[in-house]
Symmetry: D2
Subunit: 455 residues, 4 copies
């Protein structure tokens, strides 16, 4: 499905999940295993060098590997076979010690963890970029008022800064999660056929420790062949991020509707055109993010389902992960990159936002009036009272303020100056500014934390 | 993810969903559109020939298409652009009429339907192969007795013929479904930008009809750009099939357990080995089918979710289908082919089945004894009575028959000859044979129907 | 979760899935079984009457059943126990023959099918009501023009009649599907412990046939204890309907946005208010339908996953259906009823639709101009040309028509009268009317078919 | 669906999600809000006491609430109305200040968080119980050997202690996760209609802080009405746990198969019987856990999908959570309790485990022999060599040891004593014991951490 990859995915992430990267991950395991075993005298020192020399993806025949995997049921078996042959060509003795004491799943799982680590590093960096773009928007639009909308209806004024601050705060939570899970997820898989490392006699744990050092991966208390919570935790943490990306894209695409037109994706020559409509500028990035937001949850449910694996190594569940986990990372990576790219240069039309506040002839200020009347009339009575005036205003297509002004009870409680204030959006923003400050403060402290926190 | 494709997928299906096939599906639409419009005098007759001549996937620059899709948000826009250029090189006049009156989605959706039609034809044929293999098993093992198992516990004797007959009957139901949905699914998509065909003036419907004829696709009452039930119906009908394939693979893999060993996948040199265990013969086909059974439901949930598309053409939902629908067909196709391949040569060990009937020292015949006692003692009393004997037999590791023989009440109701009969599996198979006959009869009548029923 | 039931569900459907209805479904099976067996002399004629007399849900102690189910793992076991006791109280002899020859799953599955049949009947009727409401809208708004929208951007004019026609056509497809699947789905489950009916000796099939007659359910070729495609087909067919309901609700909620305001849910005193905003009228029905559209796909993926059941009767998969299948029917039923209720009285503001066509100062007519220029300039050149004019119009906030009028090339090809026509929405509706006619015709022919088609 | 609740759920958790608990959660919010506002002089001190006095679920008319929710679209609106009435009956003045400055979603979300906190506490305790049971099994069965199984085939010997250690380690990881997420999840929701707290003027943040103190919930940087990652993180963390519970239940149910019989669920009078088979003892707890493992992933995918919520407060997505989140907690709680209950008294048959090691006539020791030969022959050659011997043994139904003994090359490398050792399962357990020690050590250190770590 290469034709659609540049649309849905992001090279910077996909490179970590190419065929070649998958292979290299496993080969990195095999090379490190040989070196670790040589350090401990389990295999000859020469063998390690000879094996390491051949652990390069570009030396392998992919066609043969692919057919071998179809026959054997996994990729490690033909890989070990081909690696053995490659090593033997130069050093027959060394070839005896390829894959010594390991099982297919050790290579496959550890390879996946290495791929995942690279991807998470790149995602972290892109998230930082996105967060910083959002922080800039928050700062610049701290005072830009627009209609807050609930249930797809205008509700009360907010600021665009506050709206973006809720986006930013969510993104920073995802950054925190992705930092937190690293120690639990980035671990070695090494257990041999059934998790006892029996083939290494009493040296299993020592080899595991040396291997962990080689790969800079922690050694977990026990192998986890049939316990997939680590993999699924990584995927579902990315899935949480996907939900937020989707939420932001949904917001942007709604704000970009022809009739609202408060925000639009950056204009790029040739981007988002139509094959037939000359005037169209489609929100392409949003479409990509929203499509990924539709796809990732289903993929996650597969991973959650697949956790129910049999005995020491499962049948079906494990195999289901092989394409699904990379697919999740790839879709989230693509969506993140698209969103980070438009966030940098989002077109924000403050004038149109202000205009849209006036669309309802003042109905959007109804709560403000109600709260002003509530101390005298009680919240419930004020609510009913203003609701009636709102209904009248709507039915007669008049401004709420005019309708209210005609009612003696209002005049007795609210002066014309009071009404001026109540119908000014800037006067009814509550603690939006303080919320913004809190988010920005949490954002900058996060920056410090994560700088140190990453690996 | 090419490296794993030969394991998880099946060329014969995947070829219909390659980049090249995706492109060709859209080009078939463009060529047929030009011909249909020429027939009706909407565009010059020359133009149709010139356009048709260039509608060949191999003439296109995939790199350019791919980058164009990333920019424009869909594949049709760069395709139309490139096609126009190709046509113009030979016939400038004709190039004016490329994609005349259509919208991107018309080409993309109709192209998908064409791909789907080819895939469904191939799947039908493979299903027939599988069904016929299962029918052979049913006939050969009509009298092969083995333990029927419920809740993963031995329950009562059945025949392997009956077991396979329930598989066969399910497969035949899927064949019927796949035949039934064709008229609803294999239809043209053609509506122009918003489903009015406005760019064709009053000729829209005439062009649609001619186009339908060209492509041998029915013309639906109205375009269905934002109504995706047809696509999802196709996918979920395949999803139902996937469930059955998974069920059969689960059965085979459980029967193939070392401790049960009643069935095994055909032995193929090099197949299902382990990278470390010399004695292993892993059920590779089952692992593939079971992994697909874990994956397809999640993909389906995406398609169901994505049906909620906005207005005349949606944002996100439609885009989500582009890779997910092919993925579903591909995974089901791969699983089907794997299962059809092992069904042909499934190794069935009737002796071991018979042995396993004896594992419980007769407990598997408990219901038979109970039913024999029930007319005298009542069903409930007989149940309690035999349950107690079963418990004793289990605790004392004795045969149920021996325990029963010692009880005077039994002797009074059941002679030793009665007991012989009751502990003979062949005597307690009920109407298994009649069920088998019904399934085989339904199967052969299906053969006749579907021969005529397919397109 | 009773408190939220009236919001999310619909009594008329939920009544078929209450505890009491679940129980009665199973009791209807037990009563019919006794009668069928009595007819064939398998059990005494008296026994059937005595058993039938007690097969009434209200005679049962739900607390005891519920605790019994928790212990035994299914509801049939305590039900049979309690039924036996109830029968024995009046007729000790008859009590011997309760549940004769059946297994728990026979009662549970057949009971579910009976519940499902009732629910499908009710859903059919409500779908007919919805379809008829939509047909009325199609007819009344055949000429009501509004902006067609793609990718959430205005694209070209359409009519509200056409928009509703695509809704109607989809609903009619669902009605056809729900009619088609009935013969495959509404079948008896009856196989005894392992699907051989061994406990009935050679009378199994005769009893099955008689039982099918009693319950007016077809007898399938073979029992289907571990083959769940029928159940999942019913659920996924409802899931397809759910997608369409969600799509319609998404459309309505977008059209009801404050800034678009073309459509709104019928106004009902007290409906859709806010706890704090006096002016709010939230689209409550849409929120319910959309929430169900988010929920049903996940539930479906569970059913698809659960199809992988073990051997003659599964462990886990079958049990997963017990609450999930009813939940799906209940959520779809609730959403359908909500939507049918608002469709009856949807508030449609044709004036606002017309107003919204003018929002873009004529950009919505860009394709019309392009197609008018295309015969002289070629489609591609005309596209680029009009796209440039559209850009100018947008940047200078002028009307597209004015911009075009200033360009000599346009004047030479299009007269002022031509432009009048091109900027009239009614002149650029293509074959919308013919599409509407086709849908209405298909709708009325469906009415005839389904009248006869239903059971 | 009460009849099945005792089977699938657990009172101790479900009580936190009853209608009454849902209501009480919201009322706790309303009462705390009044007190907080009174402390800050926003409302009269009297009002707080009067309101608090009425915030008791049992004072409310559920029928009225339920109908009100169906009309209004959420439960908070009728709750506030009824609460206002209740307060007014005693104190008209105080009634004015009910729900002062809050929005429906503040009450609903904060109420949910309070319910969730209670549930997480209970789940923590039950997890500790389960972990301790598993730790006991690990210690008692440190030396109990059984076949390790991969791909459902016997592979190499392991110990039951090691098997249980992998279960324990996974459970302890879940405990760590559930502790880690608490600070991020257990936070106040309080933002007013659009997240500005505008109705409270400049006192919004002060009230939020006081309210957080009242409820012992942290105050997040900004309200999170349309950002649902916290809720979904809680659910998906429970979903990870569900996967592990399912994996353990799958293992137990496979080990409990009639033909393997190494483990069984504790025997309880009346439990797991069949309605027709007297000898059956069905693994009821496993069926419940496995059915929940099929159901939770689909529910999670709904929550992930529903994260895409619109603007300041969404339409459909939020509403989808109301029943789905409790359903997830409830199913996980039920599964956890079932598993914890059987783990306490799991029946483990060490003799049968040992017997099953002999089923393959020594094939299970093939890797041991291979590794013993590898230093002389090379790993690859040794693998092929032993594989051939294994094949011969299998075909001729002889013991692998006998086949090997006849081969001169073996005799030259391995003495009869060597072979004795190689065919002794206890001699080929690698570092199983060390892995067990690591898990137990991590487990006891976890105990210390979590004791302090919980809230």
């Amino acid at each position: 499905m290469t034709l659609l990859s540049p649309l849905f995915r992001w090279d910077a992430i996909d490179n970590f999940f190419s065929d070649s990267a998958r292979l290299q991950g496993m080969l990195d395991f095999e090379a490190a295993l040989a070196r670790a075993e040589a350090r401990l005298g389990v295999i000859p020192r020469d063998a390690a060098a000879a094996i390491t020399a051949k652990c390069q993806a570009q030396l392998f025949d992919f066609q043969v590997l692919s057919e071998g995997a179809a026959l054997a049921g996994n990729l490690a078996i033909p890989l070990v076979k081909q690696l053995t042959k490659l090593v033997a060509a130069d050093n027959k003795e060394a070839a005896r010690f390829v894959h010594w004491g390991a099982t297919s799943q050790d290579a496959i799982d550890t390879g996946s963890i290495l791929q995942l680590r690279s991807a998470l590093d790149r995602i972290d960096a892109e998230l930082e970029r996105l967060a910083n773009s959002l922080a800039r928007i928050v700062r610049s639009h701290r005072s830009t008022v627009l209609p807050g909308r609930t249930w797809l209806q205008q509700a009360l004024p907010i600021t665009f800064g506050l709206k973006a601050a809720t986006w930013l705060d969510a993104i920073d939570r995802h950054r925190a999660r992705l930092t937190e899970i690293r120690p639990r997820i980035l671990v070695l898989q090494f257990g041999g056929a059934v998790g006892t490392l029996a083939a290494l006699g009493d040296k299993g744990l020592a080899v595991a420790n040396a291997l962990g050092e080689e790969l800079q991966l922690a050694v977990p208390p026990v192998p986890w062949h049939a316990h997939r919570d680590r993999i699924v935790e990584a995927a579902s943490t990315l899935g949480l991020l996907m939900g937020t990306l989707g939420k932001i894209a949904r917001d942007i695409s709604l704000l970009a509707q022809t009739e609202i037109a408060e925000v639009s994706e950056p204009s790029v020559e040739g981007r988002g055109g139509s094959s037939t409509l000359p005037q169209k500028r489609n929100p392409v990035a949003c479409s990509v993010v929203l499509s990924a937001a539709d796809r990732v949850p289903g993929l996650l449910s597969t991973l959650f389902t697949s956790m129910v694996q049999e005995h020491e190594r499962g049948l079906g569940g494990w195999q289901a992960e092989w394409e699904v986990m990379p697919e999740i990372v790839s879709l989230v990576g693509g969506a993140l990159h698209h969103l980070a790219s438009i966030a940098d240069a989002l077109q924000i039309d403050a004038a149109k936002m202000s205009e849209n506040l006036d669309l309802t002839r003042g109905l959007i200020y109804a709560e403000a009036v109600q709260m002003a009347l509530a101390p005298s009339l009680g919240r419930a009575a004020a609510h009913e009272f203003v609701a009636a005036a709102a209904k009248t205003a709507q039915e007669q297509a008049r401004s709420l303020r005019d309708v209210l002004a005609e009612i003696p009870e209002v005049a007795s409680h609210l002066s014309s100056r009071d009404l001026d204030r109540l119908f000014d959006p800037k006067q009814y923003l509550g603690v939006a500014d303080q919320f913004i400050d809190r988010v920005l403060q949490s954002h900058s402290s996060h920056g410090h934390k994560s700088a140190g926190g990453r690996r």
